[in-house]
């Protein structure tokens, strides 16, 4: 057992990470535990985005859509649809997968630039829709009263719930990353035409990747709704999409954990500084500018450097 751990670095690393994070949960005061929960959720979001950006070289400019799909379908099903928690959760996941398939299909009809713009367009459309359809979605104030699983309702227990859920997702993503599928995704990023001439149906491949990426983002959305005990239009905003991209950039797009690190930085800065300094947007802006110019690699490595993927 110990031998397997030692031999397989990533399993070892993962176990240590989980132990450390679990320990932190006990040690930290409630405010920080809550913050850490948010970090975990957004790390999942950023990692889901990076599947497209860092691995396949796609540019989904409106990825917060899927955060919203997960959160809003869960919220609406629970509050308006009167479903119980677990059925609502499953139904929300199902709806999110269906939505990501449709959106993906429509977005992938043209060239990469069109993909990015259409993606952005859908984000804008859905964001406006949710903001304006006040009767259905509560508009600006969102919907309150989203539950957490009854066993995990307090801050600490919910933290462990999220830790478990996110860890499972990370394990799944890790397996995916090491598979032939992910290699082909990298080929897509490196030279799409060559991949085409190797017999790969590019559009179908991108759609499958898109669905997987959207799925994990939706999971993050549901967890976020549970964390905030509500769903809000901010989940689906353009700013949130941009933040996702920033997380990938800051942490490094060419490593598996880069986006997670980026998420930690962005979430901590925006939450902590907004308490003490209030104006965090500018600081975030400066960090992004620095990262883009200075080290396009992000902290853990950028696109064109050694791929530690």
């Amino acid at each position: 057992m110990l031998q397997t751990l030692v031999r397989n670095k990533s399993i070892g690393f993962g176990v240590i990470a989980i132990i450390v994070l679990s320990g932190l949960g006990i040690v930290l005061p409630a405010y920080w535990t809550q913050l850490l929960t948010r970090v975990l959720i957004m790390a999942l979001f950023a990692s889901s985005l990076n599947l497209q950006v860092g691995y396949a070289g796609m540019l989904p400019l409106g990825h917060s859509m899927f955060l919203g799909f997960g959160a809003y379908s869960f919220g609406l099903l629970f509050i308006k649809g009167d479903l119980l928690l677990i059925p609502a959760l499953l139904a929300a996941l199902f709806i999110s997968i269906a939505a990501s398939t449709i959106v993906g299909y429509l977005c992938l009809r043209g060239d990469p630039m069109t993909f990015g713009l259409l993606h952005l367009g859908f984000n804008i459309f859905l964001s406006t829709l949710i903001n304006k359809w006040i009767r259905f979605t509560g508009g600006d104030s969102g919907i309150m009263g989203i539950p957490r699983p009854s066993l995990f309702s307090d801050t600490l227990r919910f933290y462990y719930f999220v830790l478990a859920a996110v860890s499972i997702c990370y394990i799944l993503m890790r397996i995916l990353i090491k598979s032939p599928f992910a290699k082909v995704a990298q080929g897509l990023r490196e030279n799409e035409e060559r991949l085409r001439f190797l017999g790969v149906n590019i559009r179908r491949f991108q759609l499958v990747l898109f669905m997987i990426s959207g799925f994990f983002a939706a999971v993050a959305g549901i967890l976020l709704a549970m964390l905030d005990k509500g769903v809000f239009p901010a989940y689906i905003s353009l700013t949130r999409s941009a933040e996702g991209l920033m997380m990938c950039l800051i942490g490094g797009m060419s490593s598996f954990l880069g986006p997670s690190l980026g998420a930690a930085i962005v979430v901590i800065i925006s939450t902590v500084t907004s308490t003490y300094i209030y104006q965090w947007q500018g600081l975030l802006g400066i960090i992004i500018i620095a990262c883009v110019i200075g080290f396009r690699g992000g902290i853990l490595g950028g696109r064109r450097t050694q791929s530690k993927l």
Partner: protein, 287 residues
């Protein structure tokens, strides 16, 4: 409701459309010439409005109209300088950098001007109405249309008839060649970008008297700009013009006739265009 109300809405729609066109043209120009997408255009717009607000209180509105855009253009030059290492790289980096600049500007505005929404009055002699065909129209909107029209004409004139415009056009069609001819492409790039940002500054100064000047508007404006550009075609000035007018009028009429629904119209239009003709109504497909 009467004809006069509808016409008035159309007028307001045209005026907002013209202003949107100026900003969209700014993005389109930079996109065509430098392959850079300036996601900060909304922030530059609102900065122009804030600067107008300040200058109006010190000097007068006419000075504000002239100075505010110039100051904004200066900041644009600084941004272009930051963008230089990114030429030719993935659009993701430019997007993020210009967004970063937008964030810094928005925060800077809050630091400098505070968080309250600012307003300024329409200059006196423009605050009345004008009679046309027996109907009354607010003069300021006509003023906006006229000034934007002048700027647009000036833009066209510069492009087609001046040496600078010729250089712009040359760069747009073949950047490498222009470089080979010994022309300082870097300088032209700076000018191009600053010009694009200047247009935003003009838009901001023009709109300042009729909006609540609020830094959060920057994002709203970016929405609209992206919508307009997607509909018209990212690299097409003509497309930007028609799309901006269509969206402006649709918004104005919609806000009166379908108040619940009208904000979705631009987005729906955008998606429709993207699905049918992805390069935009006036765009050319990249083969």
């Amino acid at each position: 409701m009467q004809l006069v109300d509808i016409l008035r809405q159309v007028l307001m729609g045209i005026s907002s459309g013209m202003v949107t066109f100026l900003m969209a043209a700014g993005i389109s120009l930079v996109m065509s010439g430098m392959n850079i997408i300036n996601f900060g255009q909304g922030a530059f717009f609102i900065l122009g409005a804030f600067l107008c607000f300040s200058i109006v209180n010190v000097l007068n509105f006419w000075w504000a109209l002239i100075l505010a855009p110039l100051i904004v253009a200066g900041l644009g030059g600084l941004t272009e300088f930051l963008l230089r290492p990114l030429y030719g790289k993935s659009i993701l980096y430019q997007l993020l950098l210009t967004m970063g600049v937008a964030f810094v500007i928005m925060d800077g505005i809050r630091t400098f001007w505070g968080k309250t929404i600012k307003t300024i009055m329409v200059p006196d002699f423009l605050s009345s109405t004008v009679e046309f065909l027996g109907l009354d129209f607010p003069s300021y909107y006509i003023f906006i249309i006229i000034i934007s029209g002048f700027v647009a004409l000036g833009l066209w004139f510069m492009f087609e008839r001046t040496k600078l415009g010729m250089l712009f056009r040359a760069i747009i069609s073949d950047r490498a060649m222009v470089g080979n001819l010994g022309i300082n492409v870097a300088l032209i790039f700076s000018l191009m970008f600053m010009f694009g940002v200047w247009l935003s500054g003009v838009a901001g100064a023009l709109m300042a008297p009729i909006i609540g000047i609020d830094s959060q508007l920057a994002i709203q404006v970016l929405f609209t700009l992206m919508t307009v550009l997607i509909i018209g075609g990212l690299k097409s000035m003509r497309g930007a013009f028609f799309a901006a007018l269509i969206v402006g009028v649709a918004n104005a009429l919609g806000s009166m006739l379908l108040p619940w629904f009208y904000t979705l119209i631009p987005a729906v239009l955008m998606i429709t265009v993207l699905l049918i003709k992805p390069e935009g109504l006036f765009g050319k497909p990249e083969d």
